[in-house]
Symmetry: C2
Subunit: 478 residues, 2 copies
């Protein structure tokens, strides 16, 4: 990458000078270092951008793409930087295109349950808009105060409520994005149904910035449930918890979420839990029932009836303040886990729900094999774990060992019919998994799709998967 040397006098690189002419001075960030990292920093992962631009409209992004096409410079689209796979990290340099100035709510019609927002609006802002108007925007990935809707779309972000309500893609009715060719594409809109074109928006959802940059999205909401009731269910054996989980399915109950924490996770995060659990608790399921007051109560009663047989304790929480304390604790689990060893390597593997506990057991065994403590928690109802190796982020041997252990983890997930990522994406850190996850025909189709949207391969190159090198021209010996 040329132009990376900062001029001594101005502190501005040649690339930045070019970009200033192209987009104006205020669209170029002087301090590039914070844009070199995301949540994978806790594994010591980061990159150095050649420049950081913060465009304020679609036309500026088009100009940026044209410049990058001409100069063969990659673009790394960036939302809130809360990703867990290094998808927004400029590992091999390139221009980070941060969407922070795309922070406008373009339209909001609460009485029609819909909004159109720019890509840089935070998930929390959308939640707040909905909540203040009696509505619910169900996708609830962690770090919602930081993450952008555009980033949620790029990763098809999930969260606990995905069990009942589905992932981000289920709530996006339209997307505007700029392709790697510089075309502005509108796919879908605010209509609730439309089959006039291909469903291109759904291909963009989960594409991790490798096909284009999302600039705006139309979202749909639903009326907020009147009441939620939480159930915290403790088990002394993992097998009993698995039976409980399958009993929810088998009895045809649909809680709004089914979360879990395993014994190791509870050992680390349990002490701050605003509830007391029996001493021999080895596994916790947390369910939520929602709906009108009577519906939520009824569902909570049904869940209790089904779950208490195998449990050693079951607490029903209807008080909103107590529930809020529970969820505050739940969102701190990740930090409690990190603080125990100074770092972690955590993967959002997903397996068929009936294999959840088998996966948890496999994780523990892999940890033993590689001499790394493990723990897991996550979205039990969807078979989606945050499978975690604990490590000292400053120890390169720890990081190396965890990296190899993680590969074994992915292999185990695949053996169980699962996938390396349920909601974070492959980014840079898991991109090697793409090769193992898909057969040749599927891989080839991905490459062709990438070229269809991004013929110059400038959009977040090397993320999600590695493009094959262009074929060498055949040398014919006469």
């Amino acid at each position: 990458m040329g132009g990376g040397v900062r001029g001594a006098a101005s502190g501005v690189t040649a690339i930045e000078r070019d970009l200033m002419q192209l987009l104006g001075r205020e669209a170029i960030q002087a301090s590039v270092e914070p844009y070199g990292r995301d949540s994978t920093e806790m594994q010591g992962f980061r990159g150095i951008p050649d420049a950081v631009v913060t465009p304020s409209n679609t036309e500026e992004i088009q100009r940026l793409v044209e410049w990058c096409k001409r100069n063969g410079v990659p673009i790394v689209p960036r939302g809130g930087g809360s990703g867990f796979a290094g998808g927004a990290v400029p590992v091999e340099g390139g221009i980070v295109c941060s969407m922070e100035r795309f922070n406008r709510v373009v339209g909001f019609e609460p009485l029609l349950w819909r909004a159109t927002v720019q890509a840089g609006v935070t998930t929390q802002h959308v939640h707040q808009l909905a909540r203040e108007n009696g509505l619910l925007y169900p996708p609830d990935p962690g770090a919602s105060e930081q993450s952008h809707i555009g980033g949620n779309i790029a990763c098809n972000a999930g969260g606990p409520h995905s069990f009942k309500y589905g992932v981000t893609g289920s709530w996006v009715t339209g997307i505007q994005f700029v392709t790697g060719n510089g075309d502005v594409i509108q796919s879908g809109g605010t209509l609730r149904k439309d089959v006039s074109g291909f469903d291109i928006k759904s291909l963009i959802v989960g594409s991790e910035g490798t096909l284009g940059i999302v600039t705006a999205a139309s979202l749909r909401f639903i009326p907020a449930p009147e009441k939620t009731v939480q159930l915290v269910v403790a088990y002394d054996r993992v097998s009993a918890a698995q039976e409980g989980l399958l009993a929810i399915y088998g009895n045809g109950l649909v809680p709004s979420l089914i979360e879990f924490l395993d014994g190791s996770c509870l050992a680390l995060a349990g002490p701050s839990l605003p509830l007391s659990l029996p001493r021999d608790t080895e596994f916790v399921l947390i369910c939520e029932a929602d709906g009108s007051a009577s519906t939520a109560d009824e569902m909570a009663d049904d869940l209790k009836a089904v779950l208490q047989a195998d449990a050693i304790a079951l607490e029903v929480i209807s008080d909103p303040q107590q529930a809020a304390a529970l969820w505050r604790w739940r969102s701190g689990v990740s930090f409690a886990v990190i603080s125990s060893h100074g770092g972690k390597m955590s993967e959002d593997v997903v397996v068929p729900v009936e294999s959840l506990t088998e996966m948890i057991v496999e994780l523990a065994e892999i940890g033993k094999r590689f001499d790394l403590p493990t723990c897991s928690w996550g979205h039990a109802g969807d078979g989606n774990l945050h499978a975690t190796f604990l490590l000292d982020a400053k120890s390169t041997t720890d990081v190396e060992r965890a990296t190899i252990a993680t590969r074994a983890l992915f292999e185990a997930a695949r053996r169980l019919g699962g996938s390396p990522s349920g909601e974070h994406g492959l980014g840079w850190l898991k991109r090697e998994e793409f090769e193992h996850q898909f057969g040749e025909a599927e891989r080839e189709l991905h490459y062709r799709l990438k070229r269809t949207f991004d013929p110059y391969e400038i959009m977040n190159p090397g993320k999600k998967f590695r493009m094959p090198a262009p074929a060498e021209p055949e040398v014919v010996v006469a």
Copy 2:
């Protein structure tokens, strides 16, 4: 198209002889004529296949595709033949690939709310599987006894319950299909979340057989609601009905469906309605509340409270037999409409829900302008109309006039921010709308996507949109 002449002795064409060698005699249908038409027959629309194949496995489809690539012969994938846009009609000949022998349920795990079925399994069969096991497969397009899951996927079929539960795509977790290049692609599976690859399956949903042939799909279910309550609400003015519809939204109520019938439709189909409506009824909304018994009753009460102010009559139907009679009547509406004039041209335009009645008024005005009786009914909650011109299918002037009127209808829908198709697709009959519906960048992207999946342009060519002719080589005059 060559090979279309049937040998006098054998009654077999040259193409059929080739295909028999390729796929075996039992995979070639002797009687091709029934495969030349779908539901658009009532507009006198049909085609003549060059041959009809009924493959029984994916490998046979691959062989078929390879043969068609080599011989430049188009393939017209066909499900149950219940389409309304001519998508499965071999308008310009070609080989109809009927999926009727792909009729196997590959896996069904009712306790885990999921199944994998071959593409030729009927929608009714899936409904039945679900129902017999306490589950619900919500997409409920008309003619479910005839339509295939593969066809539902091709059109992203909807139906009344889409209001609460979403269209077909919301219930498909995985698809296997054969591309126009002959590759067998598996996208997704039975996992509830997976962001390891691009969401290719969603691009196939709604692609109307133009990218490939769907061979199998993994579907998810939910527990069946314990009870449903229907509300039939009569209005003497369209404006009052529109207020009622928006009041459902504005009060944050989520019925499982919100259907409507306008005055003209009631005049034709009303006499057989198993209820008596006030004489001055000009519009009917039908809502359904579902859930546990108490939830359904509670929602029905809420709906009644919100809707009765503007209505001239409101009937609550809790008795399952009475409800079944109502829905039998509802599914006969289309036939009652047809029988009034001997034919109809009906389009599934969709508009923002707040513009529903404006669209209905526009339809009536267009009808007057072209001297054609009109009526409409459909999925009010989604802004999705079956906007209908009544005609004598044997009268070519009627059909011609209706064709022009339909264009005006699409234009009106677009003016209101709508689309020419909410759930039927563009097929052949509405393909011209593609040009009007999308801008140049979007059209170009569709063409590139088509070529990505179907480089030889053999997959249902001319459907959904017309591919641009390949660019003429430039003639350079020296």
